[in-house]
Symmetry: C2
Subunit: 459 residues, 2 copies
């Protein structure tokens, strides 16, 4: 990046809005995945106008721009694969409006999920998609990745809540999509095209989100299954029962072993644990739903079924699920938190395949997931300094996604394609589908400056 | 259309799949709107392969193709504005799969909404977006228009339920979008781009829909308001209460007058009636929610509040709302069923503006609507043989949509743009937004053969 460009960037962003110091370039070389590549500079815009001026300059000079929030991506979405600028939107962090009557919130992209949640909570509302990284991740990132969470089965994902966007396009043009109305069918749905586009089509500078009343009550239960297939059968039966639990999480045997090795929780090392939560306005409602689920657990040979009588008992039932990631990070020095989804009927089959792959490739692959919507997270922990183990991880990943697609699944339920899954895109999507995605990319970003190298959009 | 093309179409579709008889051309000149234009021929494909061959031919010969279902569009979406072929998908009417465990249904585009609803109902499930035309409209049309209905506030619209599509593109290429998984963020969301695209991007030949358990119980109440603003205030208060009713409908004074003039229901001619329905698994739950709503009605000076104790009492409370369209059709010989949405806080303001416009232009504009999501249907009944009245209708419409946009509203909540709203598109969307929509259109349909002349995509 030549010095004239750097000077212009400093002019646009002010002295504290630009850096090319080594420490910043090293920081912005990574996100929460295993990928890394240093950018040429990092910038911190504070206004849409600054973003616009940067994208005008970058488009003219053909400089890659990688918009990012908190950098919690597990798939390399925020890594500047082709160098250029990392644009950290963390300083555009104001909640601009919370309007209960209009059932919406307007936020800047750098607002942390938990901060919006706190602001909505006092009014009895929430923004349902709650990623595990909610305490640090930003809403711009949530929109760019179409973030999910444990309430997906009942409440959907981010895309179901984005009403309108302000987006800056390459060249600096400012596009407003959608409306403040709950319903609109006025023209093509440009809003949804940006949701999940991983920063490859435009830089999101303002977000209008639909919000929902927070159900005041919930009930929680946990069940142990000696046999994985029984747990899968229970999930299927719950679907037939007409209940959509507000959460239905699965924890596998490898995860339980990892937890026991790294904590003193002494959990029973069964093949699967299911944790279910139901919600509603009245205790009768949440218990009515949970009763049905408990009967299904028992019918499917759960060896132990516990129902929480209090909030602290409920928290205890969630311990295995909520401890999982922290524990897994301690198993070895490298970690791939994988992400896939399969049709719900294939959840137990998929878990069995993952266990078999772990044996075949001599790896540890503990898995947790959102059984209620078929979204699983196998966690491959490995020693990145051992070339043989790295090779086995790569081969196991490739075979894993082959199997996922054979079962009618998808490469990613909520983490995105980024760098991690780019090589598999052609296996899920036809040549025609890829050609259409690439043509859409060219419509918005003809010079390919936005987050280049991601989602296999260039092959 | 030359005879060689007609012969080729007969070859592709078989003798009973093609017609250019006058009676068919007259039938297919119209949908449920006031627009009309005769096509050159009508075709009835039975397979995706036939659709593909037709689009290969049509693209080569630059022949317009207008896909249509039952033709219930109120905005001219199915009128062949540039002639060419009307492609009636009504013979592709099989429900291919209902899979409760995977929580989905796979249907052909010609399946009537009510038939899917019946098939799901026996398993305790439903496909929530329930357009008023549900007994006749087809799911291909519902997807192409992103159809809504009275349950929108709680359950969303069609787009929230489309998981995957098979679409034939101009040239005959067959594209598969999305997946059978509840969650996927694998690449751009091409599925959602087709939802609401009004047949301008491709012909939908297979639809995979997410389905939901049907809440077994509901409670219903109705309230009369002497003052429109009080009704508006009640709607706002309901939002603050944390309750999302499964339906919250508004009927205005003009509608009540029209009903009284055409039936012997003798309804009180107050400024507004609100009908609310709540749902859930238990009676406690539905009544808990309804109690809150009733207290809000009373607090906002409802002059009469009725709560249904039985199913037939509930049906009686729905009478005013459900009788409305039939009655309005009898007022005069022409009818525009308008469609707009505003942010919920502006519902009563919008209704007041509509009443004022009716006075100003000496028209009858009874209005009903989905107060719970801000989607209103002013119905302009007029005498199409009276040039002065037609001019007044046009002027009132133009002023109506100017006001809608001033209030932060949108041109259409659920009926679509089609021909009816094409001239207003530039008022809601910026030049940049229109340019992006037109560029997307060119990606999918470079020769502009699919439903040309709609949505202002050509200006």
């Amino acid at each position: 990046m030549d010095s004239a460009v750097k000077e212009r960037l400093k002019e646009i962003l002010g002295p504290d809005g630009f850096s090319d110091s080594l420490i910043d370039l090293i920081s912005y070389a990574k996100d929460a995945s295993e990928f890394k590549r240093r950018p040429d500079a990092a910038i911190w815009p504070k206004t849409t106008e600054q973003v616009s001026k940067v994208l005008e300059l970058a488009d003219r000079e053909k400089i890659p721009v990688v918009p990012r929030g908190a950098g919690t991506s597990l798939a390399g979405l925020a890594v500047p694969e082709k160098g250029g600028l990392v644009m950290d939107l963390g300083r555009m962090n104001r909640i601009l409006e919370i309007n209960i009557v209009d059932r919406l919130a307007v936020v800047q992209p750098g607002v942390v999920y938990a901060n919006l949640d706190k602001a909505l909570s006092v009014q009895g509302f929430f923004f349902p998609p709650d990623p595990a990284s909610g305490s640090v991740c930003t809403l711009g990132g949530n929109v760019a990745t179409n973030a999910g969470g444990i309430k997906g089965a009942k409440y959907g994902t981010t895309k179901d809540y984005v009403l309108a966007l302000e987006v800056v396009l390459p060249g600096g043009r400012i596009l407003r999509t959608g409306s403040r109305c709950m319903k609109s069918v006025s023209g093509y749905d440009l809003t949804k095209l940006f949701v999940g586009s991983e920063g490859t089509l435009g830089v999101i500078t303002e977000i209008t989100l639909k919000i929902s009343p927070r159900p005041p009550l919930n009930s929680t239960a946990m069940a142990l299954f000696e046999d994985l297939e029984d747990a899968g059968k229970a999930v299927s039966d719950i679907m037939h029962s007409g209940i959509i639990p507000s959460a239905l999480e699965i924890v596998d045997q490898q995860t339980l072993k990892a937890i026991n090795q790294n904590t003193d929780l002494n959990l029973p090392e069964v093949e699967a644990i299911l944790v279910a939560e139901t919600d509603g306005y009245t205790k009768e409602e949440t218990e009515f739903q949970l009763d049905k689920i408990l009967r299904i657990f028992e019918k499917n040979k759960a060896t132990s079924v516990k129902r929480a009588a209090t909030k602290s008992e409920a928290d205890a039932l969630w311990t295995a699920r909520k401890t999982a990631y922290g524990v897994m990070a301690r198993i070895n020095n490298n970690l791939f938190v994988e992400d896939l989804a399969v049709p719900m009927s294939n959840v137990s089959k998929m878990l069995r395949i993952i266990a078999d792959l772990a044996t075949k490739y001599d790896l540890k692959i503990p898995t947790v997931g959102h059984a209620g919507d078929g979204n699983l997270h196998p966690v491959i922990s490995f020693d990145g300094t051992d070339p043989d183990e790295v090779r086995r991880v790569e081969e196991a990943s490739a075979e894993l996604f082959e199997k996922v697609l054979e079962l009618g699944g998808t490469l990613t339920g909520e983490h995105g394609i980024g760098l991690a899954k780019a090589r598999f895109m052609g296996q899920e999507h036809s040549d025609l589908s890829m050609a259409m995605m690439r043509a859409i990319k060219r419509v918005f970003d003809p010079n390919n400056i936005l987050n280049p190298g991601k989602m296999a959009l260039e092959q």
